[in-house]
């Protein structure tokens, strides 16, 4: 029997109701979220084991520096000989820890589909055109205020095979480092007002509406560049154990 959007939407609604009944805020998705079918065999069944280890290796983290990025890397529209197709955008924001302090000089990596919703990846079989002028990969270091900035094109929505007629809302994948290995974050940024939001089990895996809203960028007209690009702002807050973000000992 074919699994329809109707079936998945019903499961999504059940999960949302179950979350609301807890009355608690959940900042992250549960690793086992049945509407996202790929999660079923890929999440632990045992609870995580809590480690309280202030001397542990995980409270330090890798560092990156000027040798790890080039000026070219933050502009995804200039990595080939010609201009990529699509709506040019600039995406910027600050990376903060849970104490609100900027995360300085750390690596931000992004990847995304092209304007047609196709990744430059051999295993992406979506029959949308590849763009010879767009790979969809960028990186930069945060500045002294914790700010990152990329120039790219707005990615297209794309189909995937979670269920019949499954479509991902447009998104940019982000990978971030903090000052501790425990602050590591891989996530996705979405665009405001996308009609696909309610249908997508990956976005809806964040069952808390306030948390889910934190994955959506804001259109900021002051960031739009005349005759050039539309501006989006998206701030990112890295999680981590209390020891990495309280004022203690700092």
């Amino acid at each position: 029997m074919t699994l329809t959007q109707h079936d998945i939407s019903r499961e999504i609604a059940r999960q949302a109701t179950a979350h609301a009944a807890t009355g608690e805020a959940a900042h992250h998705p549960a690793r086992g979220y049945a509407p996202y079918r790929s999660s079923r065999l890929r999440h632990p069944g045992q609870p995580l084991v809590t480690v309280q280890d202030p001397e542990g290796a995980e409270l330090s983290g890798p560092a990156f520096g000027l040798t790890d990025v080039t000026e070219l890397d933050a502009d995804l529209t200039r990595q080939h000989t010609g201009e990529p197709l699509g709506e040019r955008i600039t995406v910027t924001g600050r990376v903060l820890d849970r104490g609100g302090r900027p995360v300085r000089g750390q690596l931000v990596e992004i990847w995304q589909a092209n304007a047609s919703g196709r990744y430059a990846h051999q295993r992406d079989r979506h029959r949308a055109p590849l763009d010879p002028h767009f790979t969809g990969v960028g990186r930069c270091l945060t500045d002294a205020q914790g700010q990152y900035a990329f120039t790219t094109v707005r990615p297209g929505a794309y189909p995937w095979r979670n269920h019949h007629n499954a479509w991902r809302p447009a998104h940019i994948h982000f990978s971030l480092f903090g000052t501790a290995f425990t602050q590591r974050l891989v996530t996705q940024m979405y665009f405001p007002g996308d009609p696909l939001f309610p249908y997508d089990p990956i976005l809806q895996s964040v069952t808390d509406p306030a948390a889910r809203a934190r994955l959506v960028a804001t259109y900021d007209h002051d960031l739009s560049v005349p005759e050039w690009s539309l501006g989006y702002r998206w701030d990112i807050v890295l999680d981590g154990p209390t020891a990495t973000w309280t004022e203690e000992g700092r």
Binding site: P29, Y36, H43, P44, Q46, T70, R98
Partner: protein, 180 residues
């Protein structure tokens, strides 16, 4: 402040995250270098061909050094590591058969390598530790039942080769960690 939620790394990170030499953490030709390798399995025991593993070991300095991902300033491509600096950071994707391997220096100060696991289907990454000394003891190991503890102990295949398999789900599921 409330944290930004995690989302899966998905299947298409290939151009963005893995980099040449990502598993070559030990400086070139270092006489103490060891190999650590293994497989990543799902809850049905099938190898996971699109997992991404990150390794972190702070070494003597307790902090990372830049230079794991040096970029060529002319082409923007990867220039590789400098061959000299131990940065403590490694990143490898599993192969089609679920296998991964790294070459690194034995951990300093702690008896383990720190690992972070990403995969399509995994909505939030998972931390674990690979203890390389089968006789290692520390508060975490001491608190685990023997069967669970065994999942964190790498098997020594020869003096310089350690095997560490990761099982995301099932009866022999690896112990995954939450830091408080």
């Amino acid at each position: 402040m409330h944290p930004t939620p995690s989302q899966t790394v998905g299947p298409f990170y290939g151009y963005a995250l893995p980099f040449p030499g990502g598993g070559e953490i030990a400086p070139v030709g270092h006489p103490d270098a060891i190999t650590v390798h293994g497989y990543v399995y799902d809850g049905a025991g099938a190898p996971i061909p699109d997992a991404l593993l990150e390794f972190w070991q702070p070494g003597h300095a307790r902090a990372g050094k830049p230079g794991s991902m040096r970029r060529d300033p002319v082409t923007g491509g990867f220039a590789g590591r400098d061959g000299v600096t131990f940065t403590g950071f490694g990143r490898v994707a599993t192969a089609a058969d679920g296998h991964w391997s790294i070459r690194t220096l034995p951990p300093a100060g702690v008896p383990y390598l720190s690992l972070c696991v990403f995969a399509r289907g995994l909505l939030h990454h998972l931390y674990t530790r690979a203890y390389l000394d089968p006789a290692a003891t520390d508060p975490l190991l001491a608190a685990l039942a023997p069967g669970r503890r065994a999942t964190l102990l790498a098997a020594q295949e020869d003096p310089r080769t350690h095997r560490f398999d990761i099982r995301l789900q099932g009866p022999e599921e690896t112990v995954f960690l939450d830091f408080r």
